[in-house]
């Protein structure tokens, strides 16, 4: 069934790609005519094909994000001098690690791509990295969060452009203490990321004088939180806020039921790590999410110069379609690749040259300034995002917390990266 869903999603994506190609010319032309700044909008470069592979979820749990990431990637190229040279190869990972790895190999070995943008889920990325590492093939991860890939499993050929559980939870500890208070109730989905987020936050929070007054972890994929929520109200001390990590449907259900059972009305505030209150989920959450927070490295609709360029291009290419974290992630990855290509004179077959450039790359994208750390993990701006309602639409108000990478070393569970480790 998953295969069938995948094929359907793929066909749908191909159809939308046709529409996309029609509109993208308009967007690119408009950008060139308005003389937008930055390296993306220079004259066209003639030359051989730049073959870019993208293995992402077109079916399965993260199928809502895959097509958007792909659209963002293509949009970045459509605004660049490489727009006529770039050729994209899209494969469905089905949100499964083994399928993602198999498709990544296929893209390199059969489609002869020059570099690859990897999958979404934290368990897919290491599976793809493991098969590409011995073959010395480039893997860029726009979304897949796995600290081991910037720790002991790092590789000169693997680049994490997104986030990890660590840099999306630890920066929130001092912010929580200052903004909400000293007492926290921890919650989360009972799987690796849910537990990691709670663990890293707890360590950082307790170190600065914070106190955990209770905690629970519900099974991943739960749709009913009614049995768990009374534990928050029954905690020995009333928490100043509730912190944790739920994703996608779990987060929608948790936030809605958090409000439904009166916790919000009684002054309990919920903070979800790693973009759980992403813009694509806010309509489904409705009023329940307003006033709650999450953390992430992008703020859709933020009024910054780079984001204004992106928003204008996106709205021309996809009128009426919401701008979310996934399409921004795809655009960010595209921006990074374009900057690297510029440094190797557009020679996408120069793998060693690209690797060397990517290892030290710095670029500006809609999310802000980004630079690569010594362990091939990006150091990104981290924001605490408050959900607000503006002109009848649910949006985020971002508070900049600082630039954070993912440190590594023997003291961390994910170990040290042989390439080096950033200090924070």
């Amino acid at each position: 069934m998953a295969k069938d869903k995948g094929e359907r999603a793929l066909k749908k994506d191909l159809m939308s790609r046709r529409d996309f190609m029609k509109t993208i010319g308009v967007a690119g032309g408009a950008a060139l005519m308005t003389g937008l700044p930055g390296p993306l909008y220079s004259a066209q470069a003639a030359g051989p094909e730049i073959r870019i592979g993208h293995v992402t979820a077109l079916s399965g749990v993260s199928s809502d994000m895959g097509p958007l990431l792909d659209k963002g990637l293509r949009l970045a190229f459509s605004l660049s001098k490489y727009k006529d040279r770039a050729k994209f190869f899209l494969e469905d990972s089905q949100s499964k690690p083994d399928v993602a790895a198999q498709k990544a190999l296929k893209l390199y070995e059969k489609d002869n791509v020059h570099l690859l943008l990897g999958p979404i889920l934290g368990n897919e990325s290491p599976a793809v990295a493991a098969v590409l590492k011995p073959k010395k093939k480039i893997l860029l991860e726009a979304y897949g969060a796995n600290a081991y890939l910037v720790g002991k499993d790092c590789s000169p050929y693997t680049f994490m452009l997104g986030h990890t559980s660590y840099n999306m939870s630890v920066p929130l500890a001092p912010w929580f203490l200052k903004t909400l208070g000293k007492k926290v109730f921890l919650v989360g989905a009972d799987y690796r990321t849910g537990r990691d987020v709670a663990l890293y936050f707890r360590e950082a929070f307790e170190k600065i004088g914070g106190k955990v007054v209770g905690e629970f972890y519900s099974p991943l994929g739960s749709s009913e939180y009614a049995p768990y929520l009374p534990q928050i109200r029954n905690a020995k001390e009333k928490p100043d806020g509730v912190f944790g990590f739920y994703i996608a449907q779990d987060c929608i259900n948790f936030v809605r039921q958090f409000e439904e059972f009166g916790l919000k009305k009684d002054g309990y505030v919920y903070v979800n790590a790693i973009g759980g209150l992403g813009i694509q989920y806010l309509d489904a959450m409705g009023e329940a999410a307003v006033g709650f927070y999450d953390s992430f490295h992008t703020v859709p609709y933020a009024d910054t110069p780079q984001n204004r360029i992106f928003m204008a291009a996106w709205q021309k290419a996809y009128p009426g379609q919401i701008i979310d974290e996934a399409c921004m992630g795809g655009f960010d990855a595209g921006t990074c690749i374009i900057k690297a290509l510029d440094a190797v004179q557009g020679d996408s077959t120069n793998t060693e040259g690209l690797v060397s450039v990517l290892h030290k790359i710095e670029y500006e994208s809609p999310r802000g300034k980004v630079r690569m750390g010594p362990n091939n993990g990006t150091i990104v701006p981290v924001y605490a995002r408050k959900v607000v309602k503006k002109d009848g639409k649910y949006r985020h108000e971002g508070t900049f917390l600082g630039y954070y990478g993912t440190p590594c070393g023997p003291q961390y569970e994910w170990g040290a990266c042989s390439l080096g480790c950033p200090s924070s």
Partner: protein, 287 residues
């Protein structure tokens, strides 16, 4: 566990169980009377949720969704029964299982094409939002409505099956279809009506679930999973079994989450395994 917490969890468990009854009873009755293990039943619930969501989005009227969505899904159920399911009456169970399994794939892909992969939820009218304080228990207003509505609907269904003229051939059909036909009753017409009514009830459950939780293209699998566990516990083909099975499942989830949060789902599987070992046909099997 304090008395207040005990009562809270009990109430939550009963409400979860009431929702499960709406999902599982249709599946159980269709199997019991018609011999059709309708794997697409979860899809009817899902389609009810999506249809309800669309109606609320277009009109802003929750009650219109509550009334129209079941009619649309009943029509769809009627078409499916007439064109496909009816051709397999009298065939073995795997034939109908394969047919409805295929249909469930068609429906989930249709949802993906029509509504995309995003998550939605049905917005409730303002008077259903918020909660009331029932003797110190914070209870959401809409869930209270769901509990009362489910009890009323279950009561009507029970009266229909046990006391009405239409209910008699259905109950008789559970045991001996040929004898029912020998009395001059057009049993295939009964089958059609039953399939349509159960599709409509599934859609009602869909609208309710869509207002309580998020709607997504993969929810059908979760829903059919719940329904199958309920009827394994309660017994295939038994309305009473579906009711009791749903309550057991709802209470097990609620108390399991309190006692051992990490094992809350495991509790339900454990109960199912226990029932299968001790009473392989379920607690109240009619067969």
């Amino acid at each position: 566990m304090t008395f207040s917490t005990l009562m809270t969890v009990l109430l939550y468990g009963v409400t979860i169980g009431a929702t499960y009854t709406l999902i599982a009873s249709g599946l159980s009755i269709v199997f019991g009377v018609m011999g059709v293990l309708n794997f697409a039943h979860g899809s009817f619930v899902m389609l009810g949720a999506y249809t309800g969501f669309t109606i609320v989005r277009l009109t802003g009227n929750f009650w219109l969704a509550f009334a129209i969505a079941p009619l649309i899904i009943a029509l769809l159920g009627g078409i499916v029964e007439k064109l496909m399911v009816s051709r397999l009456y009298g065939k073995d169970i795997p034939s109908t299982l394969f047919l409805t399994f295929g249909l469930s794939m068609v429906f989930s892909n249709a949802v993906l094409l029509l509504w995309g992969g995003s998550s939605y939820s049905i917005q409730l009218p303002s008077y259903f939002r918020g909660f009331i304080n029932l003797f110190g228990i914070y209870y959401p207003k809409f869930r209270l409505f769901v509990l009362i509505f489910s009890c009323v609907l279950v009561g009507v269904m029970w009266l229909f099956l046990s006391r009405s003229r239409w209910g008699l051939p259905i109950r008789a059909g559970l045991f001996d279809l040929e004898t029912v036909e020998a009395f001059g009753i057009n049993i295939y017409r009964v089958f059609s009506i039953l399939f349509i009514v159960c599709s409509a009830i599934a859609a009602v459950a869909g609208v309710i679930i869509g207002a309580m939780r998020s709607i997504n293209p993969m929810m059908d699998l979760d829903l059919i999973n719940v329904a199958l566990i309920v009827i394994v516990i309660g017994g295939l083909g038994s309305f009473k079994g579906a009711l009791i099975g749903s309550l057991i499942l709802g209470l097990a989830e609620a108390f399991g989450a309190q006692a051992a949060p990490g094992f809350a789902k495991f509790t339900t599987w454990l109960i199912m395994a226990g029932v299968l070992l001790l009473r392989p046909k379920g607690l109240f099997s009619e067969h």
